[in-house]
């Protein structure tokens, strides 16, 4: 399987894992190990309460456990509804976690967690200027994608379906068009994957990686589910690289039709 490079950093695994809603940090750690995950995302907006008034984060808390995972940490701005909140959260993340990677989410609608694409582009422009390496959570809109790239993003994270819905691909042709339009840009599917079959599906279409949280964290056995997703993602990627056959509307026999030719 070909390696994936994100902002100059080669990553081994094409499965990125969110860290929320596991039964325990120990379970999260086991899932990360079992699936050989290389990048985890963490949410900062609510977990940094107290920092604004100068209280340091407890050195022995969740953050230390996350650092102990020994993988790349991709902080996110989940829960931010404005450009200003997202920028402040990104700055705080850089300070706490010592990384200039930021998964940028600017939420437009609280019910559906639909991204605010105008705010997203604006925040991306600011953060890139401040030296951040921005991983923008976006829709499949090509115009928005173009603007994000022009702002300096070197990769895109389109949704497959709304966050946490587990629906799988809800708009196949839009995703296909996006893949074709940005053939050289790493595209990471960021939301809506519920089952390993969904992950195989997007990987076969040529997407570069998949980010999951709920589908693993809320499974009956998160560790085994993480493993199942890792296998699915590897299978989907290998299939894509092996160039799958086209589908046809009627049966085509794999063996030659010897002796059935019509003479005369």
């Amino acid at each position: 399987m070909a390696a994936l490079t994100l902002y100059g950093q080669e990553v081994r695994s094409r499965l990125l894992l969110g860290t929320a809603r596991y039964p325990s940090p120990a379970c999260l750690q086991e899932a990360v190990e079992k699936a050989h995950v290389d990048i985890v995302t963490v949410s900062l907006r609510r977990e940094t309460i107290g920092m604004q008034r100068g209280e340091g984060l407890s050195g022995q808390g969740f953050w230390r456990l996350i650092k102990q995972l020994g993988v790349h940490v991709l902080p996110n701005t989940a829960g931010c509804h404005s450009v200003r909140e997202a920028v402040t959260t990104a700055q705080m993340a850089r300070e706490i976690l010592g990384t200039d990677w930021i998964k940028l989410e600017v939420i437009g609608d609280d019910q559906t967690l639909h991204p605010d694409i105008f705010g997203l582009v604006e925040a991306a422009e600011i953060l890139v200027k401040e030296g951040f390496k921005v991983f923008p959570y976006t829709t499949t809109d090509l115009g928005v994608a173009e603007r994000l790239l022009r702002a300096g993003c070197q990769l895109l994270m389109p949704w497959a379906a709304p966050i946490g819905s587990g629906q799988g691909i809800s708009h196949r042709s839009a995703l296909r068009t996006m893949r074709q339009s940005f053939a050289d840009i790493p595209l990471i599917i960021d939301a809506g994957i519920g089952r390993p079959s969904h992950a195989v599906d997007v990987m076969e279409m040529g997407f570069d990686a998949v980010l999951l949280n709920t589908a693993v964290a809320q499974a009956g056995d998160p560790v085994r589910m993480a493993h199942a997703f890792a296998q699915a993602i590897e299978a989907g990627r290998t299939a894509y690289e092996a160039d799958p056959m086209e589908s046809f509307s009627s049966a085509i026999s794999a063996s030659p039709l010897m002796g059935r030719g019509k003479l005369g």
Binding site: P23, R46, E47, E55, F62
Partner: protein, 332 residues
């Protein structure tokens, strides 16, 4: 110091929260003289236990916990009614908005020992909720209690049986004169316990003059599940957030909004209820979110009860008792 023996070793317990008191009673009943040291002047300063939900709900807690919580939690269903007669054994209810129905399905798949109920059965259990929910889960074996009254009652029982309880005494394990020391300080022990982390929890209490329930209700939501526990006389405890941070400052607007929105979604008449308390506590947790007992010579540390102080303290106290008895056996 006397050489400890199974019958005579005296025991000093640091921390007068649920873990400390349940451990004290368990050891006292096994024949050990016990002395509990609580650093605060009264129980109300003991944040984690004082602010707890007090649900003895092993099957519901399975939703966000490792499977072990069921077996370990079941012990509490026997322990609490035996030691605190106002433990209410009326089960618990799990509901969701129509929009979040899949959460009920997920919760049911995750747990066991429940009945699936439809609207009319729900109304029969909790008449105040008539017509508001089409379906829900009922866990008939679960119980609940008022943590504040329960702590006072356990303290009374301990003293009745000859145990000592000293308030306003901040002591460290090496200050304890008793033969054996049990550290039940919860989050306060964190400087000496590197594995421990603090998880912030925020809660609200309201008083309603219109509504009353008989049992705890959990309102499921994909991101912000909330529980509402009736305390009697129209008082309800609404909890609790779970934030990976040990900051114990005031409740945030977002958290208060989340808890109150769920409360009003449960019943619009809660809109007229009075907010009588907003509070924050820090739960002590180990990486697997389950309690554990560590032994260092004559010092035993029982900690990591996380959001299960009342549910898992009987199990945890039994572990302490068994380890202490084994230790005394070795020494004798």
């Amino acid at each position: 110091m006397l050489k400890p023996s199974k019958r005579h070793a005296s025991i000093g317990i640091i921390g007068g929260g649920a873990a400390g008191l349940v451990t004290a009673l368990t050891l006292q009943e096994a024949g050990f003289p016990v002395h509990v040291y609580e650093r605060h002047k009264d129980f109300s300063q003991n944040r984690c236990s004082w602010l707890a939900g007090g649900m003895i709900a092993p099957w519901c807690e399975r939703d966000a916990s490792e499977r072990a919580v069921i077996e370990r939690g079941k012990e509490a269903l026997q322990w609490w009614p035996e030691h605190y007669k106002e433990t209410r054994c009326r089960g618990s209810l799990v509901l969701s908005s129509q929009h979040d129905r899949h959460e009920i399905v997920r919760f049911a798949r995750r747990s066991e020992a429940f009945d699936y109920l439809e609207g009319e059965d729900l109304a029969a259990l909790e008449p105040a909720l008539e017509g508001r929910f089409q379906e829900g889960l009922f866990f008939p074996q679960e119980a609940h209690l008022d943590p504040r009254k329960a702590l006072l009652s356990l303290a009374w029982l301990l003293e009745q049986q000859g145990g000592l309880l000293s308030f306003g005494q901040e002591v460290s394990p090496r200050d304890i004169a008793e033969d054996i020391v049990i550290d039940c300080r919860g989050w306060a022990a964190h400087p000496e316990m590197p594995r421990l982390r603090g998880v912030r929890g925020e809660m609200i209490r309201v008083r309603s003059y219109e509504l009353n329930f008989s049992r705890p209700v959990r309102l499921l939501h994909p991101r912000f599940p909330v529980y509402i526990v009736p305390r009697g006389e129209g008082i309800f405890m609404v909890g609790a957030t779970s934030i990976e941070n040990a900051y114990d400052g005031p409740v945030s607007v977002q958290s208060a909004y989340t808890l109150l929105e769920a409360l009003q979604r449960l019943h619009p008449a809660f809109g007229e209820a009075e907010i009588i308390e907003l509070n924050t506590g820090i739960r002590p947790a180990f990486p697997d979110n389950l309690p554990d007992v560590e032994q260092h010579g004559r010092l035993f540390r029982a900690n990591g009860l996380y959001r299960h102080g009342f549910l898992l303290s009987p199990w945890c106290a039994r572990q302490v008792k068994e380890q202490v008895m084994a230790y005394c056996g070795e020494m004798a």
